[in-house]
Amino acid sequence: MSFVHLHVASAFSGHYGVTRPELLAEAVAAAKGDCAALTDRDGLYGAVKHIGACLKLGLAPIVGVDLAVFDDDWQALGRCVVLAHGNNRGLGWSALCRVVSAAHRPKRSARESGKNRLIGIRRSELADLVQDEDRSFATVLIGPDSDVGKATLLGNKTESERALRGWQALFRTPAALGVEIVSHLTEPGTHLSVSHAKRMLQLADSLRVPAVLTNSVRYLAPDDAVTADVLDAARFLVPLGEFEAQPNAQAWLKSATQMRALAADIATEDSRAELLLKHTEALANRCRLEPVSDCGWGIPKTPEKEALGIAGNPFEVLWQRAHAGIEWRYPDAKAKALAEVQHRLNLELMTINKLGFATYFLTVADVAQMIRDMKIRTAARGSGAGSLTNYLLGISGVDPIEHELLFERFLSTERSSLPDIDIDVESARRHDIYRAIFKRYGGDRVTLLSMQSTYRGRGAMRDSGLALGLDDEQIDEIAKNMWRFSARSFRNALAVKPELAAMAEAVEQDRKMNLLVDITERLDRLPRHISMHPCGVILGDQTLLGLTPVEPSGIDLPMSQFDKDDMDPMGLLKLDVLGVRMQSSMAHAVNEIERVHGQRIDLDAIRKDDEATFKLIRSTNTLGIFQIESPGQRELTGKHQPTEFNDLTIQISLFRPGPMKGNMIAPYLDGRHGFAEPEYIHPDLEPILRETYGVVIFHEHVLRVLNKMTGCGLAKADEFRRRLENPKSAAQVQQFFRREAAERGYSQEVIDKVWGILEGFGSFGFCKAHGAAFALPTYQSAWLKTHHPTEFLAGLFTHDPGMYPKRLLLAEARRLGVQILPVCVNRSTTEYLVERIADAPGGEPKYAVRLALTELHGVSGAEIERIIEQRPYSDIADFYLRAKPNRRTLETLATIGALDSLVDATQHNRADVIARARQLNALSDRKQAPTNQATLDFSIVEPVPTGNEDKTVEERVRDELKLMKLDVSEHVLELYRPMLDAMGVVRSDELVGLRSKTEVLIAGVRVATQTPPMRSGKRVVFLSLDDGSGCSDATFFEDAQQRASSILFNTKLLLVAGKTRRTGVRGVSIMADNAWDLRELWKEFNKTQATAELRSSA
């Protein structure tokens, strides 16, 4: 005996369903069911995961959607369930996809009624999509939440029949329509009660519409109903108790026995109950999907040849194009090198052909070419950089032969899933690229990828707080201290994290806080909302929109309801076009160099052995350099002291969770600095491991070692490498390795040692191709910083690529001697531009960076546009009249000095300018700017004030921080200088000259807080402080965390006490003992100063 639940919402029914689809399918399998349905609200968000889980469990999948329906005048008809019919070569699936897409399309015809944004479909359109003349492709179920259900509840028989007839009239084909009977055993006579169900069944019978039984499931087990309450609150955005909550906890996945009992309760006779169950089963059977033939499961889909503009056999075209690339990439290669290129290319192409991926490569190459034609910087990332084919097609810019990267790590006949090729582009041009892809291949072949963000720590807590009616301030206060732990372990975190001590006490005292912890844990990991994936574009053939439903994204292009994990199962080609701010920053720098100096630099062609560039890197002043600016990388740079490009590849790869957990850094550095003799174990391995002094770091190392010692071939070796990650399958690899290596004459000792390393490697290594792909922009940005710091900083300021607050760039500019010019209404634009400033007599011309207008808080885009459009301005009144800033903007501009250039600096100071702005703001109405008149009467009538007391530097810095979050005039720490000097605080750039274990005080602005994974599993907190002379890094172990407690994650300006610890030639960090809030200390300091003064005067 079994029962198929045909109306089941999973957690992918946002803020409604509670259980992940995989868990629901497992429950069905555990109850010995043979098929399982998923009908999420408003979309197929969980459908692919559901089908995947069903296939894994041997269940037949059923998929539908729960949707709002409207009549032709956009009057609500409640909700219905649409179930796709299966085994009809995708007709049902594609109808379902199109229904969902239609439901999400902005409603032009409903615009007047303000309903154009609502999600739902008109009944007539639904009827057209799910059936043709004589066949239906899906069944529409009319249940208790439909117009029919509501009329029935009121007991109006005529009205109920009229409502159901309205559906019957449109859904005429067989199996197009059904009535859904639901009882949640609510109070007799109310919605979802047995009596309500009884009436629905009678109505269905009287109009001869087949009826099926469901439980309108929204969670797996009764206990989950509490979570559903909280999700309801999050959906309605009101606290619990302020809306009508679900009637009880009956909407769970009941057993077949329980569903039979419900049927018996609802039907008047046993035979009717049996029939109800029979019809339910019959509908389930009709809806069983054949994933391959219905949904195209696992069948790769790429654009048709015509769409790619190729004729003939795709593989032949690929062959030609790749070979044509040899001349381009290796213009000066000698015969021997060319032979190697040819040989490797042929091997790669054979694999590609065998897998049938020629069209895929042509597609990616086509997109890459299109991006280059748009003059946008690109770089490949990931294992794709290991492919010579990618290099020759222009998809990747890293030579895999020169850098010893392996194709087999990227693609092999041992695996057949579509490979991932990721392309990094300028972030600022990313959307332009998306639009160009849509235009090139057509909207029926392209859609954006989506992603589901899930509830994590703070988000879960915020929505839980909302549900409990806690006020925003209270929630903010708690959320502030939540630092990188999952909500699932909230209660545990309370017990162990020092910064949560206050919260833990509140939880003990306050019942609501206690509840907050519990329901926050319940929300953890549930899908929260869907949004555009930051980089994914799906490219398919013309059937794409029948395979995936789409909905509007944040930009004017549609996105699929499927996420990245759904791509491979659905055979969809996902192209990762990732916007990288550093690429935009570098493009900006290169453009500024050309604009100001007339010199066009091809960054991709610069030599990769520039000594000055490596010298800069070794100084550890790496702020702004791609990948190596973080505190940890800075420290590693100090120890590592890179001298060549491959060193950058290694360093980037070392500072990853895997190699860090695998403890690879220390042995590598020891070998490099000659503290330990590299051990290669066997002469055969020396050529492979020489670059890393015998330490196995890269996946490529493992592949080569396995291949060398067993002769298994690199493709097989990558398969073995993957199996090493799992101890069970690693045992088989071990057997193979030992046998083959012994047969090749390696000694037992060598075999034992090498196996020990391979086994320990597990999942810890890193793909060298990925590291090398990253090292390229790292080197390029370092080169720009070395040779064109002014333009490079302009790029960094404009596109803000780094991990630090922007104001740290100001400190770096000061350190580098790059002058920063204040915002100026006559000169600043929306970007940071380089300006030539007054030349020093007889010296070189000097250049500086002009702050952008966009940095001002509270100034609208429209105002900025107007300011730029109306310039130049002759005086403040002129500006006021023509740029039409609002009052606050005018005052802001005056305060930060953006109007200084509009007055005669010898006559008027900043305070005068501000006074003028206030004068103008005080006018009751803005006068119109007279046309063709050089001087305005107005300015003559009221002269610019003079003689106000000028603002001090301190005041200016405070204004700048308040209005721009940038301390332009001087470093913010200077405000505290008297106290810092009195305390003997050490400057960051002085640290390198101190002995190890010197007791010091350091101060600064927090620029980074990190809790990287540690081998010991204990939490270590790293704080980076900027004091204007550079960054210093303080490490807090457990005791220090206890002492600093709430200071640790919240306070902006800090004083830290600790001991110096040398970490390398140029590396020093502080082992912190304690930390204080600098502002609190400042208050105390001033009090004691005042007292001291009083005493001395007394």
Binding site: L185, A225, D229, L240, A245, N248, A249, L515, D518
Partner: protein, 95 residues
């Protein structure tokens, strides 16, 4: 309708459906088939915990609507049944 809240002693049959109960010295015999239904509580108002696995009884209350006789006179009653401790309470009497 009378709202009350008193513990009552209930006799049930082999599937757990009430067949009779005594209240204020009277013994009531259940007439037609009782109707079981479920209502809910506003758990956030008084419960100290809502942790995963706490069980549906945090939210849900089992109710029985019963027609019962005492001395020939039939009345409708509503009882709650706590699954956790098998306790019954009379909560409503319909006049």
């Amino acid at each position: 309708m009378l709202r009350i809240d008193e513990a009552v002693l209930v006799a049930t049959d082999n599937v757990g459906e009430p067949v009779g109960f005594s209240w204020r010295g009277c013994t009531y015999r259940v007439g037609s088939r009782p109707i079981r239904w479920f209502t809910r509580r506003a758990w956030w108002l008084d419960s100290p915990r809502a942790n995963r696995g706490i069980g549906a009884s945090l939210l849900e209350i089992e109710m029985w609507r019963i027609e019962a006789f005492a001395n020939q006179e039939a009345r409708q009653f509503e009882l709650t049944h706590s699954v956790d401790d098998d306790a019954w309470r009379l909560v409503r009497v319909f006049e």
